[in-house]
Amino acid sequence: MKRKEDPRFLQGKGHYVDDVTLPGMLFMALVRSTYPHAEIKSIDISEAMKVHGVKAVITGKDLEAAGLGWLPTFHGLDKQMVLAIGKVLFQYQEVAAVFAETRAAAADGAEAVQVDYEPLPVVADPFTAKKDEVILRPDRETKTNHIYHWEVGDRDRTARAIEGSPKRVRQRIWFQRCHPAPLEPCGCVAEFDTMGRLQFHVTSQAPHVYRTAISIVTGIPEDKIHVMSPDIGGGFGNKVPVYPGYVCAIVGALKLGRPVKWIETRTENLTSTGFARDYHMDIELGATPDGRLTALRVSTAADHGAFDAAADPTKYPAGMFGVVTGSYDVPVAHAEVDAYFTNKAPGGIAYRCSFRVTEASYAIERAMDILADELGIDAVELRRKNFVKKEQFPYGSALGFTYDSGDYHQTLEKALETIGYQALLKEQAEKRARGELMGIGFSTFTEVVGAGPSKHFDILGIKMFDSAEIRIHPTGAGIVRTGAKSQGQGHETTWAQIVAEELGLDPQNIMVEEGDTDTAPYGLGTYASRSTPVAGAAIATAARRVREKAKKIAAHLLEVGEGDVEWTDYKFQVKGVPARSVTMKQVAFAAYTNPGPNEPGLEATNYYDPPNMTFPNGTYIAVVEVDRETGEVTIRRFLAVDDCGTVINPLVVEGQIHGGLTEGFAIAFMQEIQYDADGNNLNTNFTDYLVPTSLETPHWETANTVTPSPHHPIGAKGVGESPNVGSPAAFVNAVIDALSPLGVRHLEMPVTRDKVWRAIRDAEAGKT
């Protein structure tokens, strides 16, 4: 089914936050720090106030006086300055907010604010931070740059197993800092209406959580806050956190009594909003000589930047990193993460990733290739040998997850057959004999998505359920509202299809509404591939409740007892008598016109608390050629075989996979938010932080296997992130495989042409 939401986007009628215009609206611009770490000696706003059209300037001191100086981060373990107080902690940090009549006047005003800085020593990496020679956050109780230590698994048994293993490999792997960079930057419009109620339009993936967070931060009662998240131009995790600019816009609207719009620039987006990854991982695998895994150990230094604004569930500061044992039956394992403050932008959000799953998946998939290389075993054979077997599900992993379902061998074999692995191996051998560099890279990943069961998962204390409310109208049309929020994932189509399938109605007449906290039931929003696993399950469950109610009305219409009615072939019929039946449409009409002894109306609500996470998985294969002279990597083929359980809309799923693969391709080959040793951000716009164009993006081949989730009402698992989680390792493994005849064992992402060229040059120099 084609997407229902498309006609408005195709005609320029999408409604994004920057399209909101209100009478008397002011514009806000932010003054940002030019220094990565500096004391603020003074802020002079006098020149700014003289700029034509400027109405007000606020600084950190003003906010502090109003009790709004700091903002709690989402997991509740740290706080972040709204506007700098006393000192700045990263380049481009928010220092002052300027409110003016026009967008241009606000920008002029921001230019005119004079800030006198006294530079302080800069900490630009977690290893320097660890030394605690410069304490970045004296505002905290503990005077250290160390934020937290988190660990899972059995440290001692793992150590013994690794030491006792006949074969051991160890590799430092850095998953570089990158940024989701949705094409629509973040922004908001804040207005206090005539009743004094905050009307807040914002680019949010989690509008209800925003409402609660704004209430907690500002003290505005939650009933006086209306959050509206309209069409969103991509999110990818970037639109989960609450940013300082939002608080400033609300303060400005309150102070000036006029609506305030703030839309960040691309530079502001890349330099100050939630980055992703920045994990330095030391991973070790133990194995038997024939390649059976005996143990896994990983120790990570995480760079969290100036504030601990990682958007992870409260009890999981390192997210789902414990899925680092991947698709393999590892007998014993231990993982630990130590996070540090540095003079970089805060974040650590889940960029198209279910909380640190991408880092974990990349580490194990790279390590498996390194192990295969050292053992002299084919990388496919090593995976085959160690896969969790179909009959082992539900599988309890060494690090505490219960994998719901999968058939990894089947998925792998389908991929090998589809791509013609044997022929590729033959071709590779011929090319190697001629000195040509061809690589075949695998990633056989397992993800964990759909946070999450309430006993483990919360954000700001709020359990990570999601919700759906369904109303069926007299004519058999209906509306479904959820606590999720689409940013391009196609919810308006997929949700309508779930309801239509459960109730035998026309999906074209099931309207989907999200993002409005006045109308939608409370939910935790869309990120971490949780929409279909959680909100999708809530929709199916609510639809089944509607069906239960409808069954009573059907019994009345059919003049039999409810026990004599069955739902079959999308209609209610008297058991065994197909001739005596009524459709849902007839029942819907009767619910309002002739409900009999039943309560009128036909609607239901469900708050779905998932019993477990879901575990999508797949086999990805990249085939590359590397130019020995220039270091250029050409992606010849890329095949993704995904298993995301039951597929609701194949078109939407394929689209998600194409998009995620393209983002994974970008991370593998071109994207990094780099800082120099002085803490200067070097990738502040799209000319330095590269997004692949149509020209270099490879052609994607896709296929799937279907292993339904046993605990999800319709067996679906979530797919949006699999391609971004799984693909970087396939790309890098392919490049390393191509370079392996030269003895190259590892390259850090992004695997740029010059890195490859240098690796080839160094390897060749070493030989001669």
Binding site: P7, L10, Q11, D19, G234, L651, G655, N685, S694, W700
Partner: protein, 161 residues
């Protein structure tokens, strides 16, 4: 400064600051918000509109005064008489959009591409769209959409088969 710019066939006479970018002229002075802004460096192409029928321009990189006296086509002007333009239809049919933010610029670049080259190869399409970024689709379905649109424009009778 006073400018008169014909947008989607309608003349808009407005008084603008000289530094007003065409993108904001369209969005704010003409209330045509289908033209989007996604970067500050002329990289993303979300703001592409068509000038004088055959040139794709990035409206964030042009002042409104530079468009004075010219004709501009925006996404709002693509559909005619309530019927989607073949490019719009093809983007829908081939799932060539997800969040919709790049879509107007992507379609208008395709419009100009097909004006100059009614039967482009896949590599010509990929080259033609290289000034427009998309974060959602991976471009593959956009390429298919342009292929379908090209065929529909060349052979209107066979369209939609």
């Amino acid at each position: 400064m006073k400018v008169t710019i014909k947008v989607n066939g309608v003349p808009y006479e407005r008084d603008v600051e000289p530094r007003t970018l065409l993108a904001y002229f369209l969005r704010e002075a003409c209330a045509l918000t289908g033209t989007h802004v996604g970067c500050d460096t002329s990289s993303c192409g979300c703001c592409v509109v068509v000038m004088d029928g055959a040139t794709a321009v990035k409206s964030c990189t042009m002042f409104a005064v530079q468009a004075d006296g010219h004709e501009i086509l925006t996404v709002e002007g693509l559909a005619q008489g309530g019927a989607l333009h073949p490019i719009q239809q093809a983007f829908w049919d081939k799932h060539g959009l997800q969040c919709g933010y790049c879509t107007p610029g992507m379609m208008l670049t395709s419009y100009v591409l097909l004006k100059h080259n009614p039967d482009p190869s896949e590599s010509e399409i990929r080259e033609g769209l290289a000034g427009n970024l998309c974060r959602c689709t991976g471009y593959q379905n956009i390429v298919k959409a342009v292929q379908q649109a090209a065929e529909a424009i060349r052979q209107p009778a066979a369209a939609g088969k």
